[in-house]
Subunit: 207 residues, 2 copies
């Protein structure tokens, strides 16, 4: 991994949806996964499972499911949402998925069956690892984007990939070198002051 | 933020549950939150909300809820689980929460009401920010640990903190300088080979 600083890694992360056909080495994949598994996770149970997909037909099928989900989402948006949200490259991503060098399907396997809770905190033990994965990729000059649209076809995908009933998918992450002709868009964020409260919801000043 | 490398940050992250009483500056909190909001999130909607809690009574109440949840969890574990899982410091954390300099309650606010899905991917747009937050804290020499046990009392906590119905809590993260007398435990992980499949679930070799 290059000696990129943490600060640079966090502030220069961007969503890559167009990739060059430059191959991604197995060594790079191993480096990235080794960083992913350092992430915090509940009880250190390490329920993460990583499916590294290079098979062209499998990538094509996943791309088709992604595209179908993307179309469904766009169809259900208002024109304003369509214009303001950064979804414009989503269609390209689905269509191009077969040619992305690697698809990383990040999964969770529950030894005692699926959890009973529907709380958002179900994701607390997998998405820190997903973020590590993407940051480590960035340090190697590789691009990624976290996607979850495929989960609309969770059942079909699990069957297609031979996933057991006690597993689930958490994120589908294309991995490759960014296409050379894609303009890097700087991350735009509301400032911290807009999303931070102090001691109690709605209080905008530190007490 | 210190010039810690990404690699060092990812590989030296550890769970801190015992803190010194050295104060944490507002500047440090701002630096950490500014790094958190760089994280990827669906449609760049930035539904994250951060509650920065310094009020001693509020911290004490949250610590009580945490302790109650911790006790409930331990009571429901087998002796083997209790011995092998790294929960031993959880009781100390709950008891000491009032004296942790800052509690960060990371929340999500859904403009159109709570989401319909119970899928794990609900967490995809908040836990990358949580991980950024913890990595940025580490770069400042601060310790954190991601906890979700408080969610057992989600309803009570939301009411206590004045949180609206369309919001939810995702993680409660104590923030402070690590206690000096706590031995740092090196992260133990199963190797990548144990948790990685190729092209299809169960395939252990790249094709």
């Amino acid at each position: 991994m290059q000696q990129i600083s943490l600060y640079d890694a966090l502030y220069s992360q961007w969503a890559v949806r167009h990739f060059s056909d430059r191959p991604v080495s197995d060594e790079a994949v191993q480096t990235i996964l080794d960083a992913a598994i350092r992430a915090p996770n509940g009880g250190n149970r390490q329920l993460w499972r990583f499916l590294v997909i290079r098979n062209a037909e499998t990538k094509r099928r996943l791309g088709q499911w992604y595209s179908d989900s993307w179309t469904h989402m766009i169809d259900n948006m208002t024109p304003e949402e369509r214009a303001t949200q950064p979804y414009r490259s989503g269609g390209d991503l689905g269509n191009g998925m077969a040619k992305v060098p690697v698809l990383m399907l990040v999964c969770v396997e529950h030894p005692n069956g699926p959890p009973a809770t529907a709380h958002i905190s179900r994701g607390a033990s997998i998405y820190p690892a997903v973020q590590n994965l993407m940051l480590a990729a960035e340090a190697l000059g590789l691009g990624t984007v976290i996607t979850t649209l495929h989960t609309r076809f969770e059942k079909e995908i699990k069957e297609y990939l031979g996933m057991p009933a006690n597993s689930e998918t958490a994120a589908l992450i294309p991995l490759g070198y960014p296409a050379e002709d894609v303009r890097r868009v700087r991350t735009r964020r509301f400032p911290v002051a807009d999303v931070t409260f102090y001691d109690r919801w709605g209080h905008k000043k530190a007490s």
